[in-house]
Amino acid sequence: MAELHHAPRYTEDLDFSDILTKYQIQHDDGFDNIVVVDGVPVIDNSKLDKLLSKITKEFSKKGIYIKQDEIHVPWDKCVGKSKGFIFINLRNAEDTSLSLTAMHGHAFDARHQFKINRFVDVERYVQLNETYLDPPMEDYHTKEHLRSWLADPLGRDQYVTYRGEDVEIRWHGKSSQSGVSYSKKAWTELYVSWSPQGTYLATIYRQGVRLWGGPSWEHQQRFAHPLVKLIDFSPCEQYLVTWSHDPINVPANLPQGPEFFSPEDEGNHIAVWDVKTGHLLRTFPSASLVFDDSLKKQMQWPALKWSADDKFVARITPGQHISVYELPTMGLHGKKSLKIESVVDFEWCPHGDKDKDEGRFQGSKGRKLEENMLAYWTPEVANQPARVTLLTFPGRTILRQKNLFNVTECKLFWQNHGDFLCVKVDRHTKTKKSTFCNLEIFRVREKDFPVEVVELKDTVNDFAWEPRGERFAIITSADSNLGSSNAGTVKTDISFYQLDPVKNDFKLLRVLPSRTSNTIRWSPRGRHIVLATVGSSTKSELEFWDMDFFSEERREGQAAKEDWAGGIQHLGSADHYGVTDVEWDPSGRFLATSASAWRHTLENGYAIWDFRGQEIEKHLVDRFKQLIWRPRPHSLLTQEQKREVRRKLREYGRSFDEEDAAEESSISAELVGHRKRLVDEWNTWRARCRQEVAEEQHSRIRLALCREESKEEIEEWIDEVIDQTEEVVD
């Protein structure tokens, strides 16, 4: 009982003030519903009723219902007129904000315009401090150099690997200089991607895309596109296109702003973003959905094609038109699409070094640098032949058209500097029973765009221009198995062609018959080429070829024309079981092959080879998914500077050779030391083990001995008299 009495007194003693202030409810001061309407006509008493009814009517038009007695009109007693502003007590705070948006600036009549303020705001603005205060200076944060990797003192390249959940950025150099530069767990949920000049690394999450860059891989930008599946950068990496299979859905609570989808984007699949600001530029529906279902093919990706200078982006509506949008506004250029009946596909012409270095276009006078060019083709429709057209943009003038007959399918291949356009034309015979292939090659740099034709009997599986070269390689096959998707290996022939500058046609250099290769990979610097059998379960051969084995000077254009095919030399063969991807590094010195767990689960991992086919490193990694070399931006050196470097190569090379030699000796010393350490560790451990075992055995023996000693042997001699007889001996 005593305790109970005590309890209330105890609570009274407590000081609650701190808690009270902390949890004090902010009482609504009740002025939230009140707005001040300025700009009301000044009237006298007689017109008051009329004014009030007019005001209530005006407000109710916008959905705000007020009663007349909720309006308070301040009165200037001296003059006997109203003061020109009124207070309105609205029903709730929502009406307040509605009235702000709907009635602010509302023209009451010709001379009067309403100015609406919240009552509480008026109070606040009155109390506002009038003295000017300098806004605090924000500290300047130096942004990291996004291209710092190019300044690597060792001149190494980087690549990214994705395995399991780990993403790693690795250096590739000499074996001692290779290694992990940065790694992060769960950096992406789908895959990783470099921007085309290597500045950013894009990682993909459920919520959208994130870009990373700089030496410490700081977060650079984010694009909120839920469930994004595919992304594509523009060539100058100023813009990003994202695609999601799920239509864009704008929930009510989505934050608003230029970085986010707005309700009008709802239902679209493709979004275009500005990389630097992160702003959403425009969204599009998926092409395949608009297109009629009968021709529903696999969706084309990239769905939007960029011109080489990032100025335009084009989207095709197959069969109808190509829509070209101007950047950065993303408005339809010229307010109208290029109407092309039954157009199937198009490609922009890439820009070459010649365009960049010389600043203006030479050769064909029809095109200036400001003009982009695109090529498109249309199939045979109703008495019209199939047609390939070259078009300038934004000039929209047709430069060249070529008619083609018996066409099943065309594919457009631009040489990477825009010197040539090859149209691979799959043709059928009149009976449509068999197909063959023509290569129609447009020499774009020449006057009137002459077209050379290479006729082939077989179907062409793959075509590849030599980067900045005049050569191309094709894979042809006469095998009937082709087409069937599960055919692991198809017998193929590989042919090399080159432009003959005298006759101006393309001449067959060499054929490599009876291969299984299905992939051509030119080195990004030309000259070297790798033929690979990819995605087959039985064959996985890599062949390394050099196209200019003897004549170093050929690429300078002073080659001896007599021995055309003489320089083609087989450098080496290799095998990477289960290879799914083959990629050259940006310098064209190394080749990476990988077996990705996305395709199969046998021997996943990757290998790096030099251009001769010598294995440099090979890693078998479980759940390995992706390897991508970090691209390099275009060189800033001019042609003259490059030539200079090439000439003095021997001088420069000497210092590197010395470095290499010094390093090699230090490595081997290090390795020997490391081994020595391991052996010493092991030997001391073994010695300790041996001692312990010996001790334990000793103690066990001693224990056993003790036990024996403790067993006292007590011998008892018991004499038992069983019987006693006495005999009398005589």
Binding site: V679, N683, R690, E692
Partner: protein
Amino acid sequence: MRPILLQGHERSLTQLKFNLEGDLLFSCSKDHIVNAWFSHNGERLGTYDGHNGTVWTLDVDSQSKFLVSGSADNTLRLWSVSTGKCLYTWEFPTAVKRVSFSDDDQQVVCITEQRMGHQGAVRVFQINRDGDGSDQPSKPLHMFNPIGSKATVCAFTYTPNLIVTGHESGKVALFDVTTGDEVLNNERAHMDVVTDMQLSTDKTYFITSSKDKTARLHDTKTLRVLKTFTTETPLNSAALDPFRPYVLLGGGQEAMQVTTTSLRQGKFETRFWHKVFEEEIGRVKGHFGPINTIAVHPGGSSYASGGEDGYVRVHHYDETYSKAKPYGDLVIEN
């Protein structure tokens, strides 16, 4: 190093064992038969007939007098090595997966499988070495049921009554057989089933192989992992070279996946790794199925591998093998 091919089994091999002197090689297989071979020429000495199911495991004592074998017919049998007679049969409710003699040949430890409501058990039998051996105690000396993950392999350590076990979960543990208590364990020794365990000559360390594609060297006393050998294929067996600092690893793609891989890619090779540097130093090809078991001659002059393909290959090392010094003059204790 031309191998001797022992073609005495009709189905895949399960375990190989050399006797102490190394003149005899014992093999058991899924075809219910245990074979004994002369290891120097591959001639068959004889067979031990009687089992009615896959013979999973065997062990031979140090005097080459007794042989024990455990089988999927739920029996553990004691054989006379020289006559091939079955001396005694113990019956259990489930299959015997692993047997091992103790150092003094007085005891045998065996693991029976956990199946059909029966718990997995570890039993230790006292072996009566007197007489002709047919008079054996039918009751085990010790018996216990390890709780948690199933035990797959076991062996005696240098401490009496202490056995080391490998488990399905990848755990490696030490058990006191008298009490059945787990004395020490390393739950994360492997990430998958422990498939084989072989002890060093003085039993102070041992090697385990696992389906997690690694083999590891452990300290018997502390169960600390000393070395890890990471390969690219599930491993079925690992053995220690008694004199040179190498370990031998064998395995390959799972039997069910073999049909989809070519021979070269199946990884059906015996791999030699450096025990201390954890580097692969060589491979020996030959089997055209996964390697199930590897045994090294106690004199270090040869090794034998048994595969899923039903063959045993006995390799006698060339002279160069013992002379080669790929790492220079480093003295490495065994």
